[in-house]
């Protein structure tokens, strides 16, 4: 069963669930919930943010679910608990939007590698599979070409996506998945693309957090839920300054400003 949430929402608050931040929250991904909440509040739209820790029941009636990145051990435990609860599965059936980051994206796919490299069953909510590849961990700025997301309200242009990636897997999208964009700098999925979208479930390797660095992606997810008419423009001058700087840094392959030999020796 699917529905278009934006078209049949009532006037109640937008309900956002952060799933297991105690297990999957290593990379500041909790910031995505704050970004979404503020962008709704600033537009005068009521929002209810619910944090669900591991061990607690997963509600199936929220509008948007956030799953963050994490370490190998907790990643497996999160999968176990989500499989057991089935709350997220029911929510997706009802049309809820999901944003899953890095390890979160991997466990939402069909299969992913655990800490020992053994392939494990994922939740099957994203049509992709993650495998361990023989290359150094991808760590650094990740920049894409102009990205786009197709929602029931049409195709939304997201501009270049910018963030920081830190993962060892390669994610192979299936035939029921589309990516956001091509990778300009960095690794992304590992096949030259970045992002995996199946229906209302969106996965990405972008940390930073993703929605702090990419406000159009945040708004695209919100528009999916509240519809385009309520998405009034906001003052994004701070984030635009950050984006300009980070996009430049990624293109220059500049992780930190270069330092003189004298400076390096002084501190050694």
């Amino acid at each position: 069963m699917t529905s278009t949430p934006g078209l049949n929402r009532t006037d109640s608050a937008v309900r956002i669930v952060s799933l297991y931040p105690d297990l999957l929250g290593t990379y500041g991904d909790g910031g995505n919930a704050l970004v979404l909440s503020r962008r709704l509040e600033w537009r005068g739209i009521a929002v209810e943010h619910i944090t669900v820790d591991a061990g607690a029941p997963v509600p199936d009636s929220a509008d948007l679910y956030l799953v963050g990145g994490g370490e190998d051990g907790p990643q497996v435990q999160a999968t176990r608990e989500l499989e057991l609860s089935q709350g997220l599965h029911r929510a997706v059936d009802k049309g809820a939007v999901v944003l899953a980051i890095c390890a979160g994206m991997q466990i939402l796919g069909h299969r992913f590698p655990d800490a020992t490299g053994t392939s494990r069953s994922g939740l099957g909510l994203l049509d992709c599979e993650t495998v361990r590849v023989n290359r150094p961990r991808a760590v650094g700025e990740l920049l894409t070409t102009n990205a786009r997301l197709t929602t029931p309200h049409g195709l939304i242009e997201l501009g270049p996506l910018t963030g920081f990636e830190n993962h060892a897997g390669r994610t192979i999208p299936g035939s029921n998945a589309v990516s956001f964009a091509s990778v300009e700098v960095g690794e992304g999925n590992g096949d030259g693309s970045e992002g995996v979208v199946t229906g209302t479930v969106v996965g990405t390797y972008l940390h930073g957090p993703a929605l702090a660095r990419n406000p159009r992606l945040a708004d695209a997810l919100l528009e999916w839920i509240v519809g385009p008419t309520e998405m009034t423009p906001l003052d994004d001058s701070d984030v635009n300054a950050l984006r300009t700087e980070r996009i430049h840094a990624a293109r220059e392959h500049e992780l930190a400003p270069r330092r003189s030999w004298r400076d390096i020796l002084r501190r050694s």
């Binding site: 909790g30 910031g31 591991a54 650094g140 300054a241 004298r262 002084r266």
Partner: protein, 430 residues
């Protein structure tokens, strides 16, 4: 002297240092001296590196005839090293690498410059505990905490806990002083034969939700913590920190520390417990602690271009959690600086794990190489903020603010390399 008997070096000699080691020390000292002369720096690391090229077993050689304590943690290791050194100094000469050069080369350089029987208090990087413990056979190991830091390069904290556990298993020290409120540290320390457990009241638990022993879930309640799947739980504690009081060995000390904040009382408790385990009288140790007003520039109040500033260091979410205790309350503007160089970690996403909202209505000026990341964090925190290009420009904005109070030092809170930059501006380490 209650120190452990010196381990016999491989050569079979006891105290006497091998000629090769003596040469290594001499060469290292010369290079360190040259480094200082040409004003490259303190020579605290480069001399050690060169010494180790001459004799790679030098650390074992240099610690063969002295008592050694190791202090490691994600946060607080420099301060605790300084406090423990002060506590032990009340009865014996102490050598320490308290300037923060905390890997083998820096440690070797510090030891090479000192008398060969001085007690050594060594700050050790989390990843180097195993090799330093093996080389030094330290009698006392102080383990404060483990939390996320430098996400892009340091191993996951769980793996660090495992390394610590293996290190304590293969080279058991006489005593471990460990944090009973940190499940990762507890699990590591349980491998040691004798542990003094400190109740730290640590509030930052976000990195320990998964059990290090079984990957189950750790339940945190008011009275402690326990794994819901295995029998790992908070051990019975020996030392408590409550408000202003440190309770140890049946006695209570009201903390008169000059260093501010709850976290420094915790650091002091570790230092007292360790110095006591190493044979120092508690009263003498305690008296030594309250004379310390700054640690390698942390908490320094200094004049900078006519404005009084106070330097604070906070480099990760757990560190900020403690630092914000000092920043909530006043209404005067403050400056926050974030860099993302190698020593800071290249990924400042952790800014979103810090509750900067606790500064309340204060104006915050964002500086440092990642000031725009800070500004975005503040924007979404509804925190009044401005962005400046430099400390000078930030203080100009502070002085223009109607909330500026010239009688109160302006807090400048920075992460690691930004802190070093600011410390240099006010005269460096004293």
């Amino acid at each position: 002297m209650t120190a452990a008997p010196a381990p016999a070096p491989a050569s079979g000699q006891t105290v006497k240092i091998r000629p090769r080691a003596r040469l290594a020390v001499l060469v290292g000292r010369t290079v360190a001296w040259a480094s200082r002369v040409v004003r490259f720096g303190t020579g605290s690391v480069i001399g050690g590196r060169v010494s180790l090229l001459v004799d790679r077993n030098l650390l074992a050689e240099l610690t063969g005839s002295r008592d050694v304590a190791i202090v490691s943690a994600t946060n607080g290791k420099t301060t605790t090293t300084k406090l423990l050194s002060a506590a032990l100094s009340s009865r014996q000469p102490v050598v320490s690498n308290w300037l923060g050069a905390n890997m083998t080369p820096g440690i070797v350089a510090a030891l090479a410059a000192a008398n060969s029987t001085d007690t050594a208090v060594l700050e050790v990087d989390e990843r180097w505990v195993d090799s330093v413990l093996r080389a030094t056979n330290a009698s006392t190991v102080v383990l404060l905490n483990l939390s996320r830091d430098q996400l892009d390069r340091t191993q996951e904290v769980r793996k660090l806990a495992e390394q610590w556990r293996n290190a304590l298993t293969s080279t058991p020290p006489r005593t471990v002083i460990a944090n009973a409120d940190d499940p990762l540290v507890t699990w590591a320390a349980l491998a040691a034969p004798s542990v003094t457990w400190i109740a730290t009241g640590q509030e930052w638990t976000a990195d320990a939700a998964g059990c290090p022993a079984c990957s189950g879930r750790i339940d945190f309640v008011d009275t402690g913590w326990a794994c819901t799947s295995c029998d790992l739980r908070r051990p019975r504690v020996d030392v408590f920190v409550e408000d202003d009081t440190i309770s140890i060995a049946g006695r209570s000390f009201r903390s008169p520390l000059a260093l501010p904040g709850r976290v420094n009382r915790v650091n002091a408790a570790f230092a007292l417990a360790a110095s006591s385990a190493m044979g120092t009288d508690l009263d003498a140790a305690f008296d030594a602690l309250d004379n310390i007003t700054e640690v390698a520039g942390r908490y320094r109040v200094a004049d900078f271009n006519g404005t009084n500033i106070r330097l604070l260091l906070a480099k990760n979410p757990a560190g900020w959690h403690e630092a914000l205790e000092l920043l909530e309350g006043p209404s005067t503007p403050l400056v926050i600086a974030i860099n993302a160089r190698i020593a800071d970690g290249h990924d400042p996403s952790w800014l979103w794990d810090v509750a900067y909202e606790r500064v309340g209505n204060r104006l915050v000026i964002a500086i440092g190489e990642r000031r725009h990341d800070l500004a975005v964090r503040f924007r979404y925190g509804n925190i009044t903020h401005r962005v400046a290009e430099s400390l000078e420009e930030a203080l100009e904005l502070v002085r223009q603010s109607p909330d500026f109070d010239p009688t109160v030092p302006v807090d400048v809170a920075s992460n690691y390399t930004a802190f070093q930059d600011h410390l240099e501006k006010v005269g460096g380490v004293l």
